[in-house]
């Protein structure tokens, strides 16, 4: 997604006194990686007998009546959905249905888009992502993102990974951290002998894995993937999908994809978005991936996943 121009970043990012408190609370919660779920966080799927992939999992994101508009244009009608820990959640749907808008709203990447306005609430581990005391930089440090087009920095492979940890003061054992991130992204064996080479000399698929390595190097809690394989060849796509499975036990992954097979192959939960009568993006159906693809409740979902629409 390209954003027309270098728009101003209008929301403050200054560390107000309240910011520290909030981010520290967030940190305490998220460092408890093992799945300790409190009853209140337990997934509730009223229409089901508990066989859902979400059952018993902690809620990472709780979107409550979230709607987005850019200036006068409405991009996303109010949606309510929960995203669960250590699952891969896919957002699918035709172009312009608001799935990327929702994804970028989760870590406040839309803040810099002129006219961006979000209503409703996005709770991240119970904290309002758009709360007045929340530090946007801290949000993004917890919630990493990989973009549609591989966007490595014009630096060396090593410096691409090491840049963000250095910024955050994670300078101890930097070499080990870089190696770990590259191993996590299944890239280590291919680049270990040329870490000082420019990252832009890598192939597209390698660049995208480098971007994933870059994201995991600062040990976020969530990975947001915006059509990460759409610009890649099938083999690289497969590598990314295997990577997602390998990362799943440690991260909560949300992926936007145009590729329905990819959603069916990789995701535990799938949300189908479409355009309503006013051409505003809206959430049609959100359930376990298997149900979305095999037994969709809504005819629009069925038409889309069977290829009769779009």
């Amino acid at each position: 997604m390209t954003l027309g121009d270098g728009g101003p970043i209008t929301l403050g990012e200054g560390a107000s006194s309240g910011t520290e408190v909030v981010s520290r609370r967030v940190r305490i919660q998220t460092t408890a990686r093992p799945q300790t779920t409190t009853p209140s966080q337990r997934a509730t799927s009223p229409d089901r007998d508990g066989a859902s992939a979400a059952t018993g999992r902690a809620v990472v994101f709780d979107a409550r009546g979230v709607s987005v508009s850019y200036g006068a244009k409405r991009a996303l009608a109010p949606i309510t959905m929960k995203i669960y820990r250590n699952l891969i959640t896919a957002l699918i749907g035709p172009s312009g249905c608001g799935k990327t808008t929702l994804l970028r709203s989760l870590n406040r990447m839309n803040d810099s888009v002129p006219g961006f306005k979000l209503e409703g609430q996005i709770l991240y581990h119970g904290h309002d992502v758009y709360g007045s005391a929340v530090n946007r930089v801290e949000v993004r440090r917890r919630i990493g993102m990989v973009f549609q087009k591989p966007n490595p920095f014009p630096k060396s492979i090593y410096d691409n990974i090491a840049w963000a940890p250095r910024n955050l003061g994670l300078k101890q054992d930097l070499d080990e951290r870089v190696e770990r991130a590259l191993r996590d992204a299944a890239l280590w064996d291919e680049v270990k002998d040329r870490l000082r080479d420019p990252a832009l000399g890598l192939s597209g698929g390698q660049q995208q894995r480098l971007c994933i390595a870059r994201a995991v190097a600062i040990e976020p809690d969530v990975l947001l993937l915006d059509e990460p394989a759409s610009a890649l060849d099938p083999i690289s796509t497969l590598a990314i999908e295997e990577l997602m499975q390998a990362l799943k036990p440690r991260y909560t992954i949300v992926i936007v994809t145009h590729n329905m097979q990819q959603a069916a192959r990789t995701a535990d939960r799938t949300a189908f978005f479409s355009l309503d009568d006013n051409r505003v993006g809206t959430l049609i159906e959100y359930d376990d991936t298997e149900k979305i693809f095999m037994r969709p409740a809504d005819t629009r979902t069925r038409d889309y996943v069977t290829g009769r629409f779009g």
Binding site: L3, G6, I9, M109, K149, N151, P198
Partner: protein, 299 residues
């Protein structure tokens, strides 16, 4: 038909350049054959004794221009960053054109303002203060009576160079791909970290080229400098002494020639100016084109 017109226009440009170079060099040839390269460092300039040397002017030209470069680059880059990354949309729309308008002020008006406003202010406040604080460095000597000095000339040149550096660097910063900045921001980088880590490194060659273009402007400026530099004719360590630059000497004396050799010596100054100006521009272009390759290939 249109093709012919454009071709002729291009041809005329080349002919004019060749003609100017030829006239300047041939006009200077008596002085060149008489003084040789020694002209560059001999600093005696006495038209009525047929003694000419460009040393002092070359020195003052370099000092004023480098001073302008040193001051205008950080200021211009800061303005460029402000206009491209930091300022709200409304302020950009106002300040941006204002900066460009600053570049459009005729230099004679800046010179006038320099004489009437800037020089007295510098003489009364800036120079004594700098002498008081940094007086142990010889370049910050005692303030002279008028404020017409190398230092004041450097300040006027700074004002002329800032808009060039500011608008060029703003455009450079705006050309940094949004995806790169987003990628950095998504890693929990602050705005300043994004600027320092991604924006500045990927535009550094362009910023250098912009600064060199500004330097070219400063080296060749005549009218504004002639107005405020005071027209001294001796080498001084102190910036607060008057002096004269190549271009300022040219414009001061071209209408009051003592003899034929005087004219040839002035032409010789023009040759030096031409060489310096062309060199600066060539270097700036070489750096800028290397930048083009770099952003495309990133190698």
């Amino acid at each position: 038909m249109l093709y012919g017109l454009c071709a002729v226009a291009g041809l005329i440009t080349m002919v004019v350049i060749a003609e100017v170079v030829y006239q300047v060099v041939s006009g200077a040839s008596p002085a060149i054959s008489r003084f040789g390269l020694g002209f560059l460092w001999h600093s005696t300039w006495k038209p009525n004794f047929f003694v000419f040397g460009a040393g002092e002017m070359l020195f003052a030209t370099l000092v004023t221009s480098l001073m302008a470069l040193a001051l205008a680059t950080p200021i211009g880059v800061s303005i460029g960053l402000f206009l491209s990354m930091l300022a709200p949309r409304g302020i950009r729309g106002v300040v941006g054109p204002l900066i460009e308008m600053l570049a459009a002020i005729p230099s004679v008006i800046l010179g006038l303002w320099g004489v009437i406003v800037l020089a007295p202010f510098v003489q009364q406040h800036v120079e004594p203060w700098l002498h008081g604080v940094l007086g142990f460095i010889p370049i910050f000597g005692v303030a002279q009576t008028t404020g017409l000095s190398v230092f004041t000339a450097g300040l006027v040149l700074t004002i002329m160079v800032v808009p060039i550096v500011a608008s060029l660097s703003r455009d450079l910063f705006l050309s940094v791909p949004r995806e790169l900045q987003d990628g950095a921001a998504a890693l929990g980088a602050t705005r300043w970290e994004v600027i320092r880590g991604v924006v500045l490194p990927s535009t550094s060659s362009g910023v250098i080229a912009a600064a060199l273009l500004g330097l070219g402007r400063a080296l060749g400026e005549a009218v504004a400098v002639a107005a405020v530099i005071g027209g001294g004719s001796a080498l001084h360590a102190s910036l607060f002494q008057p002096g004269t630059t190549l271009a300022a000497r040219l414009i001061d004396e071209i209408t009051s020639l003592d003899n034929k050799l005087h004219l040839a010596a002035l032409f010789y100054l023009a040759v030096i100016l031409l060489v310096i100006g062309v060199l600066t521009n060539l270097i700036a272009q070489a750096i800028a084109s290397r930048l083009g390759n770099q952003t495309m290939l990133a190698r």
